[in-house]
Amino acid sequence: MPATAPAVQNRIDARFAALKAAKKKAFVAYLTAGDPNLAVTEDLIPALDQAGVDIIELGVPYSDPMADGPAIQLACDRALASGTTLVKVLASLSRIRTRSQVPVLLFTYLSPILAYGVAKFAADAVAAGADGVLLLDLPPEEDPALLTTLRDAGLATVCLAAPTTPTGRKAMLAKASRGFLYYVCRLGVTGERAELPEDLALQVSRLKKASPTTPVCIGFGISTPEQAAAAAAHGDGVVVGSHLVKILEKHGHEPDVVQRLAKRAGELAAAVHAV
């Protein structure tokens, strides 16, 4: 490659650039890989792409997802029961890449990555077509070298910020984040809630000040198009997870599960894109 060639732009960055040009917010959908099995996951992702989802957070199932609520824990259990491993998730992702170029962020805990081997994982994940990694139990200061390895391979490292995060730390997290900064908008684990937090606007505006260049996406507890639209008004994007996962819990083995999930994701995406 000639030295003057620009670095390949990460699909997540490219998507945010395109959304920004169109003055739109991002809709991020979470699903657990292998729930109910990887064949369904391989059909779901292109369908969600078609339905208007901007970024897929693809959960790599882990036995002890302590930051997740019951919906995602059960999804992890179903995925593990169907024989899902990180090796198989990456193989699925390579096949998905022949059908869809939607940005994919791998969402998991440290343990599966350590067991795989960090450097090998970084190389294999990029080769499979992953665009980023979010590790729920890795505050960036715990293992900066690991995050550097991921970034050097071309993966966006998405960090989390929470309502409890002090000001100085927000800037550190924004600096360590690539792709976007994920704002966990409430105390607690993942899962649906009836209301958005009252101080959301204030909290997000503070976080955006600490993160002037990296987009801020808001997640945890968002489930309806109305909530998604209201949250999107404050940030650069919105994440919906447990709500979609519950559709898989109920209808995962029905023949129309892909259409069903794509329909709901499409409604959420439309609400976010209309903001």
């Binding site: 882990y62 002890d64 960090c159 409890t164 997290l173």
Partner: protein, 403 residues
């Protein structure tokens, strides 16, 4: 992935690491709470009023110092001088109360009135419920439903003490799942709640804090053995679940290189993964529930189920300081099977008149083999970390005796 361990004296480093073990692998939401606990805890180490209050309660409420009992028959049987550190005589029946009182006082200092805790055997749950009743704190205990079945008397005791006991149905329904649920509660209620972890594990500063509060065991034992034998012991023996009673006994002896530190893990019913809880004999380096340590996990990083006749040792990982002590060759770890532990219950009951907890019985069950690796008349201290009343029904069930 070997890293050079910090000198023995300064364990752990400022980021809560013991060599490559330990650390703080937690959801971002918890970082400020861990910072707060760390800062306040480090202050209390030199806070005279705090330390005085702790000493008072350990003396007048817990009943410390606990005796060091000479095991006359066992000593004769094995040809060694065997001393028993009697944590079974602590109020509530096990060493767990040492840490629960310490952390309860710390919660008062932090200004958090709601306490949560996980429990496996129920001893830490009972100790925490007791400390909360004493100190006027609200208390909720998470316990796997499989452990609730095995330790029914302790569930009732916790409820008598005014605690709310929440059965955990997820995963393997044992200690690790109770820790997950407690962490989820803490993430949700972190602004009002202090999490009293019961063993020397989890994110920094818990392994440090629990070890410090439990080090009273080793400090007393050291003074007592010097008085009784006129010298330091040749070996210390303790069971290792998460590792709180063992690190409490070991820690004050770490710099006394002539004293062997021997931890006994749960060998369960077999060598296959899933049949035991011997992390150092089947586990690999990993990150689990907030810390880097040895973990019983699959080749792709999924935490595996464990088995032990003793609920308190039935855990897939082990405190980071133990992992480090083993790596630098300062402590050694071996395993004791369910069957040997049950023999240990009978042996100590029949020869010394002490019914040990099933956890502690692992240290007794391993004693014959350990004695064989020491010289004649060697001096050994065995930690009887808890008493066996809670296990009587379970032992009867396992042995097929109808009560």
């Amino acid at each position: 992935m070997k890293s050079k361990p910090a000198p023995l004296k300064s364990q752990p480093d400022a980021s809560g690491r013991y060599g490559r073990y330990g650390g703080r692998y937690v959801p971002e939401t918890l970082i400020p709470a861990l910072d707060e606990v760390t800062a306040l805890y480090l202050k209390t180490r030199t806070d005279k009023a705090f330390q005085k209050r702790l000493r008072e309660l350990l003396s007048t409420f817990v009943g410390r110092p606990t005796p060091l009992t000479f095991a006359t028959s066992l000593s004769k049987k094995f040809g060694r001088h065997i001393w028993l550190k009697r944590e079974d005589l602590c109020h509530t029946g096990a060493h767990k109360i040492n840490n629960a009182i310490g952390q309860g006082l710390l919660a008062l200092k932090i200004g958090k009135k709601r306490i949560i805790a996980e429990t496996g055997a129920g001893q830490h749950g009972v100790a925490t419920a007791t400390a909360c009743a004493l100190l006027g704190l609200q208390c909720r205990i998470y316990m796997g439903v499989e452990d609730m079945r095995r330790q029914a008397p302790n569930v009732f005791r916790m409820r008598l003490l005014g605690a709310e006991v929440i059965g955990v149905e997820s995963g393997t329904k044992t200690l690790k799942d109770a820790v997950n649920e407690a962490l989820r509660d803490w993430v949700t209620n972190v602004q009002t709640t202090h999490y009293i972890i019961g063993s020397a594990l989890g994110p920094h500063p818990y392994p440090l804090m629990v070890r410090d509060f439990q080090s009273i065991i080793g400090k007393e034992a050291k003074a007592q053995i010097k008085k009784a034998e006129g010298r330091l012991p040749d070996a210390l023996v303790a069971c290792v679940g998460g590792g709180s009673n063992s690190i409490g006994l070991f820690h004050p002896f770490i710099k006394d290189r002539g004293v062997r530190l021997i931890g006994v893990e749960a060998g369960g019913k077999g060598d296959a993964l899933g049949e035991h809880a011997a992390r150092f004999d089947g586990g690999t380096f990993g990150v689990f529930q907030g810390m880097a340590s040895y973990v019983l996990q699959s080749a792709d990083g999924q935490v595996l189920g464990t088995h032990s006749v003793s609920a308190g040792l039935d855990y897939a990982s082990v405190g980071p300081e133990h992992a480090w002590l083993r790596e630098v060759g300062r402590a050694e770890y071996l395993r004791c099977s369910d069957a040997e532990a049950l023999k240990g219950v009978h042996l100590l009951a029949e020869t010394e008149g002490i019914i040990p907890a099933l956890e502690s019985a692992h240290a007794i069950g391993a004693l014959e083999g350990i004695c064989a690796s020491t010289k004649k008349n060697a001096v050994l201290i065995v930690n009887v970390s808890g008493r066996g009343d809670k296990d009587v029904a379970e032992v009867a069930r396992v042995e097929g005796v109808a009560l």
